[in-house]
Amino acid sequence: MNIDFISLVQISIAAVFINNFVLSRFLGLCPFFGVSKKLSSAVGMGMAVIFVMTVASMITWIIFHYLLVPYEVDYLRTIVFILVIASLVQLVEMTLQKFSPVLYDALGIYLPLITTNCAIMGVAVLNAGKNDFTQEPYSFIESLVNGIMSGIGFTLALVLMAGIREKLELANIPRPLQGLPIAFVTAGLMAIAFLGFSGLNFFK
């Protein structure tokens, strides 16, 4: 298999920093705002998302390129992906429960939340499209890297957010802004800061 190293690095940088799933693409906002109140749970959720995203991007890529495309039923993409992801999460949950209770204890409560996390579905759909850098369809390795790195980008944003929100617990937020609005303002300021990464390219 021909691996384009440069493309992989570019995909990684884009997924983590430039097109951060949360702060730039608006994917996975529900868990981002829901699970970012405590740092410990943010880390747990982040790990769970990285894990599921990686597995999901591999499996959906295989299904898409070896099943849907050859039989020319790629219009079934949405249905197939969501079913695959839903059963995958179930499977992961059961496997973890059986083989790694430690990991299950750490990630277990976050797994059910992941089925409807649009970040997972989002990465699957993106991987079925074209690579921004080469204008070619994603290769298997590229989609795998995209999955892992998008998960890491999601986790990065989530963990930063959780740190800030824990600090904001101690602040005197004006009443109308308390709760979700201030979380949105925080996310907005984070997104402004992340604009600093736009155009980042190590190979120019």
Binding site: I82, M121, G122, L177, F184, G188, A191
Partner: protein
């Protein structure tokens, strides 16, 4: 009764602004009124249709496979929307991008299917789908109007104020967050004022 239902969907239980559901599409596609309305209509269509089907077949669906069945039904309608957009509204389809297939994971739709349509009869489910979809669409349009006017000085693609220099940030990601924060804060402010007045 319809009036109360409307009030519930649009104000009291507004999916985006009050329940904070379906935030991803709400922020991602609210950069212009066209996109916002397009997404709102698409989501409302899926919402109503899936509510109809689910309330019709709810009796035959075993409890255990309930969720997968709902997902399949929702995904079916999403695919229909996707194909239709591609065929007849290609520009809108391009603009909405991956958020069209992502309607399938929109928590509003699955949430209504699970919480309402699976427990109520056809008529009520249709009404619920309609009002919730309307609330979703309206919230999206409000966000979209603010963002499009401030961010590109346009509405429906047409310029609005002569001499006004738009703040691009509002059509970028941070502006989306700020806009929804502002709208929610306003809602909170008035609600708190009302509650404060009552007590």
């Amino acid at each position: 009764m319809i009036k109360e239902e409307l009030k519930r969907g649009i104000i009291a239980e507004n999916p985006i602004l009050v329940l904070a559901l379906g935030l991803c599409p709400a922020l991602a596609v609210s950069t212009s009124l066209q996109n916002g309305l397009g997404m709102g209509c698409a989501a409302t269509f899926v919402l109503i249709c899936s509510n109809i089907i689910i309330s019709l077949i709810k009796k035959w669906i075993p409890e255990k496979v309930r969720i997968p069945c709902y997902i399949v039904i929702i995904a079916t309608f999403v695919t229909i929307v996707e194909l239709t957009l591609k065929a007849y509204f290609p520009e809108l389809n391009n603009q909405l991008g991956i958020f069209v297939p992502l309607i399938v994971v929109n928590c509003v739709i699955l949430g209504r299917a699970e919480a309402f349509a699976s427990k109520n009869n056809l008529g009520r489910s249709i009404i619920d789908g309609f009002v919730m979809g309307l609330g979703f669409t309206l919230a999206l349009c409000i966000l979209a109007i603010i963002r499009e006017v401030l961010g590109s000085n346009k509405l429906w693609g047409l310029k609005v104020f002569p001499g006004f220099r738009p703040m691009t940030i509002f059509i970028l990601a941070p502006g989306g967050f700020f806009t929804i924060a502002f709208v929610m804060a306003m809602i909170n402010y008035f609600r708190q004022k009302k509650e404060g007045g009552q007590s």
